[in-house]
């Protein structure tokens, strides 16, 4: 799929879903498309449907109600799709580790390709993360 990935890396279209976050990472993602950071200059665009997306951004610890829906959305996506987990919550669970309502193993819900840690990660860190993904796709 090398030739396909190279063409994909030119312009990544991104769909964003929130799995029980504190809202902060989601706002920082929206911040990326506003004038100060403006990732549309790099060909990255936030799209309205998973069926148009190449990258799926997920935030937050997944609680038991939201996890099946996230799985359903992942199954609807045209493959290949790259899942990028934003924030410390999907990677470690942070302060919510001891909660009764969260899914302990988030990789069992959807396979995650890349983690961008931080609470919340700075917009610069998110841009660097996506740039690294592009580098990897270019081979």
């Amino acid at each position: 799929m090398g030739w396909y990935n190279k063409r994909l890396a030119k312009s990544l279209w991104v769909f964003h879903i929130s799995g029980s976050p504190c809202n902060n990472c989601d706002i920082e993602i929206l911040d990326l498309i506003t004038p100060k950071y403006d990732v549309e200059r790099l060909g990255i665009k936030l799209v309205g449907s998973i069926r148009h997306a190449d990258v799926l951004l997920v935030t937050g610890v997944f609680n038991e109600k939201v996890a099946p829906k996230i799985k359903k959305i992942y199954e609807q996506a045209p493959k290949p799709i790259f899942v990028v987990a934003i924030g410390s919550c999907p990677s470690s669970g942070t302060v919510f580790k001891n909660s009764y309502n969260i899914v302990e193993n988030r990789e069992s819900v959807i396979p995650i390709d890349m983690y961008i840690p931080g609470c919340p990660p700075k917009p610069e860190a998110m841009i660097e993360g996506v740039a690294k993904l592009m580098e990897k796709l270019n081979g």
Binding site: S20, P21, N24, E28, P35
Partner: protein
Amino acid sequence: MKTKSNLKNIVNKNQIPLGPFHPLLEEAEYFNITVDGETVVDIDMDTGWMHRGHEFISEQKTFTQSIYLVERICGICSTSHPLACVHAVEDVDNIEIPLRGRYIRTLVGELERIHSHLLWVGLAGHFIGYDTVWMWAWKYREPVLQMFEIISGNRNHYGMLRVGGVGKDVDPASVPELNKILDTLDKKMDMIAKIANDDPVLRSRLVNVGILSKKDAIDFCAVGPTSRASGVRGDIRKDEPTDAYDLVDFNEIITKNGDVYDKFVVRVLETLESIKICRQCLNKLKIIDGPILNNVKEISAGEGIGRYEAPRGEVFHYVRTDGTNRPIRHKVRAPSYNNIPTFQASCKGIPIADALITLAGVDPCYCCTERAIRVTDKNNKKNNIDLLKLSRDKTSNIRGNF
């Protein structure tokens, strides 16, 4: 037996599901909108997508850890929740806070109000398809985040607060720079206030849309800008001044109509008031010297309540302690809990195109709201037993015992 008119009703009424992952909503939430032609007849809401069990986790943590936990209830109100929490713990023992600490608390709280209101103004523009407002409002929100970075070291989640004061001091050398940023922000906010007054698109989309009457605002116990836009007075900063709010000068903004346009105006004018408060705090921080933290060794057994005027309204925390270093009960009630149900009054009978901006008009925060969840089985299906009925049954059972 189905009569002819009944059948007609069933045929004409359609249901439009909205969510849980809708591209317009940055949080997961679910609305089921029943429409008759173009008109909204009924709205049903399903919550629980954001429930993480904060109250349960908080009871396992120490007071200081618990502050960092409640900060993560919501990313936008990440000063309001900790402030209400420390007020509740301080209320148990009537702990005094040093004057410099009080001014720093007020400064951080008001900066948060500016960034939250600008965020809403931008999102409101996005919801009505006027993306220029979104881009501009979020562009002028960036300097506020820059101020936060200078003060606390992080753009969001500041970690400033402790029981008995604040954890970090504002560097006096950074005050002129902060004042400079406030000056530019003031000019830009004036511009946005003028836009709200003049812009024909905003006026035609927001005026007389989703009206919440004064009576409804009182009946639904709406708080914050939602109730103040309907002409109901009420601001914790004025009514029960904590921190440095009794030492600074500001006005309470109240408008009459209760439509989305008035909510827009209230938020923009409140931002200007907040800038005024921030200036006063920074000027005092130049003069006042002294400690910022009153070292608290022990919290005795007892109960305490904490209230604070968050950007969306009154946030309420209740803490019960037993003399150890942990709260044995921690209850949180966020402002959106009161504000969200007002869609029952404001959304019915309006065109479907106006429903979204009316739902967003109260600045709902679902992360703050979802503190409790009702489950019947592992698949998290809602059960059909009414919560009110359960509550009434319990009361009648208790009465029967006496």
